[in-house]
Symmetry: D3
C-alpha cells in the first residue's frame, strides 16, 4: 500500500490515515502506583489501563507442578462507549463478549511465557477500558504485554525468579475490509461498517498466536484473507517496535 493510494479517488479513512497505518499508539508505564506492572495504552482514542499483579501460588489445577500461570480479566467502564452500557458487576454477570475477550488475552500472553521458568507464581492481568474507540481487545493485549514485561522484570530484580520466562513479545491488531479495501487498525466507525473484521495476535518474530476472523455479513475470499494477513503482520511488527521503544525509556 503506497502513498499513491491515498491520493486516488477512494474515500479517505475517517481520520485521514493511509490504509496501512496504525493509529498513534502510546504506552504510559507506571500509570498507577500499586501494581507490579501498570500501563495505560492509547491506540488513538481507545484507552486501556493494563495492570499485572504478581501473586505467590497457582490455581488448584496446577499445584505441585512447579509451573506458573498467567491469566487475564477485561472490563469496560460503563461510559467508555458512546452510549452507556450496563455495569457488569451490577448485572451480576460478565457478558459472553467479555469472557471471550479475557480468554483471548490470557491465551495470547501465555503463548509467549515459559511457565516452567515462572515458577509457582500467578500473574493476573487486568485490562480496563476507560475509552473505547474500536480495537479494545487488541490494545489490551499489546498493552498487557508491556505490563507483564515490567512485572516480570521486577520479579527478576527481586530474585523471585532467576530466569526470564518471557520468550517473545506479543501484540495484536485488527484488520478489516472497509469500503471494499483492506485497512489496518480500525476505529469504531470503521469497525461498525466493515464487512470483515479480523483480530490477529502475533509474536515479535512474525509468527501467529491467534487469528480470529469474522465475516460481518459477506463471507470473504482467500485473496482478501491474504491481504488482511499481510496488513496485520505489518501492524504487529510496528507495534512490537513501539513496545520496545516504550520499554527502553527510563521509568
Amino acid at each position: 500500500m503506497t502513498e499513491a493510494n491515498r491520493t486516488q479517488t477512494y474515500p479517505a479513512r475517517p481520520d485521514g490515515r493511509s490504509d496501512d497505518a496504525l493509529r498513534p499508539t502510546v504506552f504510559v508505564r507506571r500509570y498507577t502506583k500499586y501494581a507490579e506492572g501498570s500501563v495505560l495504552v492509547c491506540a488513538g482514542d481507545t484507552k486501556v489501563i493494563c495492570t499485572a499483579s504478581v501473586e505467590a501460588g497457582v490455581p488448584p489445577f496446577l499445584r505441585g507442578r512447579g509451573e506458573g500461570w498467567v491469566t487475564a480479566e477485561y472490563g469496560l467502564l460503563p461510559r467508555a462507549t458512546g452510549t452507556r452500557c450496563d455495569r457488569e458487576a451490577a448485572r451480576g454477570k460478565q457478558t459472553g463478549r467479555t469472557q471471550e475477550i479475557q480468554r483471548l488475552i490470557g491465551r495470547s500472553l501465555r503463548a509467549v511465557v515459559d511457565r516452567k521458568k515462572l515458577g509457582e507464581f500467578t500473574i493476573k492481568i487486568d485490562c480496563d477500558v476507560i475509552q473505547a474507540d474500536g480495537g479494545t481487545r487488541c490494545a489490551s493485549i499489546t498493552g498487557a504485554w508491556v505490563a507483564l514485561r515490567d512485572a516480570v522484570t521486577g520479579m527478576l530484580e527481586k530474585g523471585d525468579i532467576t530466569e526470564d520466562p518471557i520468550l517473545a513479545q506479543v501484540s495484536a491488531v485488527s484488520v478489516g475490509v472497509s469500503n471494499g479495501r483492506p485497512v489496518l487498525d480500525l476505529n469504531y466507525v470503521e469497525d461498525s461498517s466493515s464487512d470483515t473484521d479480523m483480530n490477529v495476535v502475533m509474536t515479535s518474530e512474525g509468527k501467529f498466536v491467534e487469528i480470529q476472523g469474522t465475516a460481518e455479513g459477506v463471507p470473504f475470499s482467500e485473496e482478501e484473507l491474504a491481504a488482511l494477513l499481510a496488513l496485520a503482520k505489518r501492524g504487529n511488527l510496528e507495534l512490537a517496535r513501539l513496545q520496545r521503544e516504550a520499554l527502553a525509556a527510563p521509568l
Copy 2:
C-alpha cells in the same frame, strides 16, 4: 497431501485416517419429533443433537424492522466427556467456553441467512452434545445448518415466508498441527496434543465465514497457516457435499 504421504514412516493418526480425511460424518434428520428442524450429527464419535425452533417475533433490538433473527445455544451433557463435567444449570452459569461457542454458531448461521427474507421470525438453534470426541463446535455448526434448512423449508411450505432466506450452505471443520503435520478434523486425542488448533467456517462456495486459530504452545508460521487453510477448505467442501446428500434423502 497425496496418497504417498500415508505410506511414509510418519506415525499413523490414532484412528488410521489419512491426514486429509474427515471422520465418517452422518446426519440423522427428524431425530426428535417436536422441533421444526431436528438433526443428530455424528462426526466420528462426536454426536450432537441440533434442533431449530421457529418462533414468531424477534428480540426487542430488532422490533419493527421487518427482519428476522437466528441465534444459537450450546450445551454439553455432563457425561458427554471422559470425565464428568459439572452441569452448567446446576453451577448457575454458562462457562466462557460455552458462551464463546454459541456466539460462534449463531454468527456462522446468520452469515448465510438474508434476515430481510426471514421476516419477523426468530429461529433458535440448540446444539446439545451427547458425546464429545473433539470438534464439537464444528459438528454443531455443520449439523445446525441442516436443521435450519429443514426448519426454513417447513416455513416456506407452510407459507410463513415466501422467499428462501438461506443464501448458501455453511459448515465448519477443525484443522491442526499434530505430530508436526497439518491434519484435518482432529479427534479429542489429537486435539489435546496438537500445537495449533484452528476452526474454519466456510460457505459451500468456498468463502470464509470465520477463522479461529490458536497456537497451543508454539506460535505458527505463515506456511503452516497456508497448509491448514487448504486442508480446511477441502474438508468443508466435502461436508457441504454430505449436507446436500443428507437433504436429498427422503424424510
Copy 3:
C-alpha cells in the same frame, strides 16, 4: 381391568392402549461410550439418556464414614418439548420442578443401595430428557436404575468393591384419573387433562419407595387412591421384568 373394558363405550386412550397397559418401553445400554453406565430409555415417545458416573470419594458430609453416595441430576433439552423452554444454564438456575425431580431420582436409587457396601465412592446419575411426552421423571428412575446396575457391575468386575451394594430393582410409573378412569403410564396429552396425577416408585419386591400424588383440580377419594395404587403396582412389576430382560441381553 379386563379386555372387556376396552370394548365398552368409554373413549379410547389417545394411543389406543388399554387402561392398564404400559407404553412400549425399551432400554438401550451402552448408549454413549464414556460413562460407566449409559442407558437410553424410551417409554413411548419419552426418551431419556441416563448415565451413571463413578467417582472415588464422597461429599464432605460423609467423609470418613466408609459409606458411599448416590445422587442425581435431571435436565430437559430445550426442545424436548412441544414449545421450546428456556435453557436452565442460560437462565442461571434450575427451576423448582427440576430440583424436585432430581431429588426424587436420587432418593429412589439410594433406597435400593446399601451404601456401606458401596464404600467411599460416589455415583452420579444424569438423566437428560431428549424428548418429553409425559412421565419423564418416572422413565428417568427406571432407566437410571439400569445404568446404575451396569456401573456397579463394572465396579465389581474391576474389584473396586467386593460385595454387591444393590439390594433390589427400583422403577417408577405414573398413574392418574383421565376421563374419569384410572389409567397407567400417562402420556403428555393424558397427563395435561387428568384430574389426579400420581408417581409411584416401587422395588421389584412390590414395596413402595415413594408415592407422590397430586389432585390437579379435584381432590380424590380413598377408592380412587386404591385403584391407582393397584395399577401402579402392576406397571412397576412389568417394568422390573423389562429391566431384567434388558440386562440379560449380551452387551
Copy 4:
C-alpha cells in the same frame, strides 16, 4: 389405636403422646397488622407465621382469563433450627427443599379455591418458620388456609368479590413409621429416626389433595401404607375441626 396400646411395653413417644395424637395445635389470627390474613400457627414447638397478601392482578400467563391465582413462598429463619442454617437470601438462592415445599403449599391451597370466583386477584401466601420442630410444611399448609380464609372473608366484606371462592378447608399432617409403629404428627426427633415419612394433605371432606410418602431407608408395604393413611385421615379431620374453632372465635 386404642388407649390399651399405650400401656403396653412399646417405648413411649418422646413427648408422651399416643401414637394417634396430634401435637397441641393453636392458631393466633391477626398476628401481624398489615397482611389481609395473618396467622401464627403452633403445632407443638413448630411455629410458623402465615400471611396472605391480596394483590390486584394476576401473573402474565393468566391475564385476561378472569381467573385469580394463589401462590406461596416458604422460608426458615436461620436459627429456627437447632443448628443455624445459612440464610437463603445471603446464599443467593433457595434450596431445592424450599422450592419443593412452597410449590406444595401453593398447589394444596389452589386445590380448594375456585379461581374463577376469585376474579383477577392474586393471593400470595408467605409461610415463615420461626421455630422448627418437625412438620413445618404441614403446619404451613394448615395455618396458611386460615390466613387465606381471613383474607378472602375480607375481600367479600369489602366487595372485591361477590361469591366465596373457597370450596373446602385444607390441612396437612405428617405420618410415619417410628420404632416400628405408625405414628401421627412426628416431631423432629421422631422424624429424624423414622423409616418412612409421609405428608398427607386433605380436605375437610376427607378427600386427598396430596400424598408425599418417602421410604427413608426401608421401602414400605401396602399394609403399612394403609395404616399410615388411616392415621393421616384422623389427624386431618381433627385439624379441620381446630381450624373451624379458631375461625369461630371473635377477632
Copy 5:
C-alpha cells in the same frame, strides 16, 4: 424539650407522643428455644426477632489470632410491611439496603465487644423483622445486644470463656426533623415525611458508636444537628435502662 412544648399549638405526633418520648419498648427473652440468645424486641409496632448463635471457630481472615468475631444478618419478612415486598431469597440477592443495615448492626455490636476475650468463637446475630413500623435497624441493634448478652452469659456459665468480653451496652434510636420539629424515635408515618433522618448508635456510657444522618430533601444546619444529637442521647440512655431492666427479670 419541656412539657410546655406539648401543650402548644404544634400538631401532635401521629401517636400522641411528646417529641422526646420513645415508643413503648419491650424485650421478650428466650423467644425461641434453640438459639443461645433469642429476643423479640417491640418498639411500638416494630417487632424484630433477634437471635444470637454461638459457633466454635472464626472466619478465615481471623484464624490463629485468638480473637473472636461478631457478625449480623438482617431480613424482613415479605409482609412485615404495608405492601408486600419481594422475598430476597426468591430474588436471589439481598438489596443494598439490607446489606447496609446488617453491616451497621455488626459494627455496632463489635464496638462493645473485646474480641480477644471472646476467644475463637463466632457469634452470629440474626435480626428478622416480623412487623415494620419505622426504626427497624435501630430496634435490631437494641434487641440484638440483649440477645448477645444472654448468649455470652451462657458461654461464661458453660465455661467456654472465662472473662466477660462485653465492654458496655449498645443501643440505637432514630431522630429526625418532622413537621419542622426535632423528634425522637420516628414511626413509619413520621419517617416517610421527615426532612432529616438520623440513626444514632450509642453506648450506655453516652458515647457515640455510629451516626448516620441523611438529609431527605433539605440539608440541615449545625443547630438542627445539635438538637437531634441531644434527643438521640436522651433516647439511648433510656433504652439502655430498659435493656438492664429486661436482663434483671428472671428468665
Copy 6:
C-alpha cells in the same frame, strides 16, 4: 487548629500535612470524550473517574410525574488497591460496601438537585476508582458533582431543560481521630489506624447532607464529634472553592 500545633511534639502526619489540611485536590474535566460530564478527580493519590450520562426517560417508579432522577454506581478497578481485590463482575455481585457507597453518592447528589426542573431525564453517575489511597467515596462525591454540573450545563445549552435544577454545590470529606488527634482528609495509612472515621457531605452553603461516623474500636465523645465536624466543615468549604475554580477554567 493553628500553625503552632504542628510544631509541637505530636508525630507528623504520614505525608507531612497539618491536621486541618486537605490533600492536593485536582479536577480534570472532559477526561473522556463520550460522557456528557467526565471528570478525573485526584485527592492526593486517590484517583476517580466520574462520568455523568444523560438519558431521556426515568425509572418506572417515577414515570409520568414530570420529575427527573439522579443515580450513581461505584466501582474499584481490581488493582486500584495495594493487594488486588476480586473483580465484582467476575464474582457475580457487588459487595455490601460497594452498594452502600453508591447509594450514598446518589443521595448526596439528589440533595442538591431540584428534580422537577430536571424534567423526565435520568442522569447516571459512574464513579470508577483507578487508584485508591483512602477517601474514595468522598472524592467520588466531590468529583461527581463537577461532572454533574458539566452535564447539566450541556443540557441547558442544548435546550433539553430551561431552568437550572442544581441548587447548590455538594462535596464530601473524611475526618477522623488519628494518633489521638482529629485530622482532615485521611489517606489510606491514617484511615487504617484511626479510631474514628467520619464521612461528611455538605453543601457549599455549609449545611449537612450526610454524616456517617463510625467508631472503629473506641466509641467517641461529644467533644470529639464537635471537633471532627468543625474540621469537616472547613474541608468541605475549601473543596467547594476548588470545584468553582475548576469550573471557571475554560474547557
